[in-house]
Amino acid sequence: MLELKGLEKKYGRNYTAVKKMDLTIREGEFFSILGPSGCGKTTLLRMIGGFETPSQGQIIYDGKRIDPLPANQRQFNMVFQRYALFPHLSVWENLAFGLKMKKVPEIDLRTRVNEALLMVKMESFAHRGIATLSGGQQQRIALARALVNRPRVLLLDEPLSALDLKLRQQMQVELLSIQRRLKHTFIFVTHDQEEALTLSDRIAVMNGGNVEQVGTPQEIYEYPKTPFVAQFIGQVNTIEGEVKEARPDTILVSGAARRVLMVKPSRDGQRPLPVALPGTPVKILVRPEKLKVLKSAPGPEQNAIEGTLREVLYQGAVTQLFVMPRDGSAPLIVSQPNTAVTARRSFNLGDKVFVAWLPEDCLLMGREAALPVAENSVSIAPPLLTVVGPPPESSGAALA
């Protein structure tokens, strides 16, 4: 188990790359650190690897403090963003480098290097020079060079960002299968939300040096705790308004597109209703795939906004529809899977349509931060790992 306690990194006096952070990463999990560039995710990874000295706080691995140790004395290995393979050595020697440093006997060394090459399917490239390899092949060798040392924790710094889409997807699958097989702890830094969702057991979403939320991909996507997380992961429609009435099981929001909209707790109870007094300015967040475009008004159990169809973008698996609400607020994006039924349902640009969704499928947030959640509200998943940080009232309450 890797624990970060109050970890902080300052550059100079004014810039704090990573703000007082508490994080626990479990043994054997695929843990992603996701965030936009400049959010401090790489700095965090480099502190774990021993390439940056924390300004404050501790890094504890298996109950022992490791932050005073230099990188070459930690049992961690890193896959670097641009691979950092030794160009003056062959593939084989690159892999053997770490083992030689640890004075692994020759026989073991051979077996382990061969195993590692086999694992990344590069056994026929053992004697090639690094310069003769393609980007994808270099990526594999960089991975093998780290794995051959059997690191307790493998750190990956955006390792797939230099690859093209197809190769990246293929490598994602391989990375995942390797991790499942070896059961090493992987800490994976990425700015690509899809990649993080695909690969991770858990994700920490970072923004401006803080961790905004830690959770499983599903928790992060379905139950974002802050507006940032909701907007950074996937697409989301934002409808502004203010609380009109708060009932025990429904909050009514008015002002948005001249309609009263309902927000209910999610059906599985994982997302309880927040506490919101009437008059509070709020925004309703709803994912494009939760929306439907209808030709006539839906029943009263659904939220609906009337508008004009402005754009239809066919994207293969889905079609995206842009609907301009009647009151002129921001267009709503609707994403419809192109199933046999919907593919045939045709809309014309300029049609008067209704955008409808279930009150259980949307989120209510404050304009800037999350709204507090009531103490006694149902929270099924106990917070596995918590983010402390200078808590905006939200995260503190969310953990309660």
């Binding site: 690897g49 021993g50 390439f51 230099p70 990188a71 070459n72 004395q73 961690f76 290995n77 890193m78 670097f80 641009r82 950092a84 393979l85 030794f86 160009p87 003056h88 050595l89 062959s90 084989w92 020697e93 480098f97 770490g98 440093m101 640890k102 051979r110 053992a126 004697h127 090639r128 020079g129 060079r145 780290a146 040392n149």
Partner: protein, 293 residues
Amino acid sequence: MLEPVEPSLRRPPLLALPAMGWFMWFLLIPLGFVVVYSLSTKGLYGGVVYHFTFENYQRATDWIYLRIFWSSVKLATLTAFSCLVIGYPMAYVMATASLRVRSALLVLVVIPFWTNFVVRAYAIKLLFGEAGPINEFALAFGLIHEPIVFANSDLSVWVGMVTNYLPFMVLPLYVALEKFDFSLLEAAKDLGAPGWKILLKVLIPMTKPGIITGTIFVFTPALGEFVIPDLLGGAKTMLMGNLITDQFVKTRDWPFGSALSMLMILVVTASLGVYLKISATENAPVDATTVED
């Protein structure tokens, strides 16, 4: 691996003609003269008599002259090695500094070229003189009680040589280090290499072209150097440079001077050959044939 070059590109273009002509007229043809002179006889009053003989070479390989050769090789080797040891960290600092610091340091390295090297050698002589600033300073602060005599010592020769040749080492090293991907150092560290291993296994092999170029740039001219040792060492030791100059200027024995010159070219070529051979075998870039199974 070199791509096969288009045949038309293999022929020298017209623009290369001036340079080629230059080397032809001022290097190859004069060198031919030197070869011919070295195989001729000295005339009675200093001229060259074209009477074929190997005598000059026999004389040149005399024990006395070989010892002079040896002191030159020693001095050049010491200079090149010192410049490498001092210059490498310097180039490293330059390559890793911020852009502004970097250009400032580059200017500092180049500034000495703005003065003639004889003037610089004199400056060092004065600096280390009995009444020079260093002694004055040390005396004033009570570090020493009597002025130290640096003049005409091996130490002052060494200081003079290193001062003069350091830029020739630093610049190629800087070029090599500037291209170096410093994340490789982190990778080595990550794989458990201690500092000195990172230096030996990654940094030095990767910057070897710079080390080789710098060494050649320093060693070759240092081998023929005699002005600095004369000025700072008190003209105590004969070196190849002044030995050869004397043959042409003082004794007017052009054939013997030519033979010595030819031998010097041989010594330079041989030393560099040995050096390149050694540096090529260590940490040679590996190809398919060298390792494993």
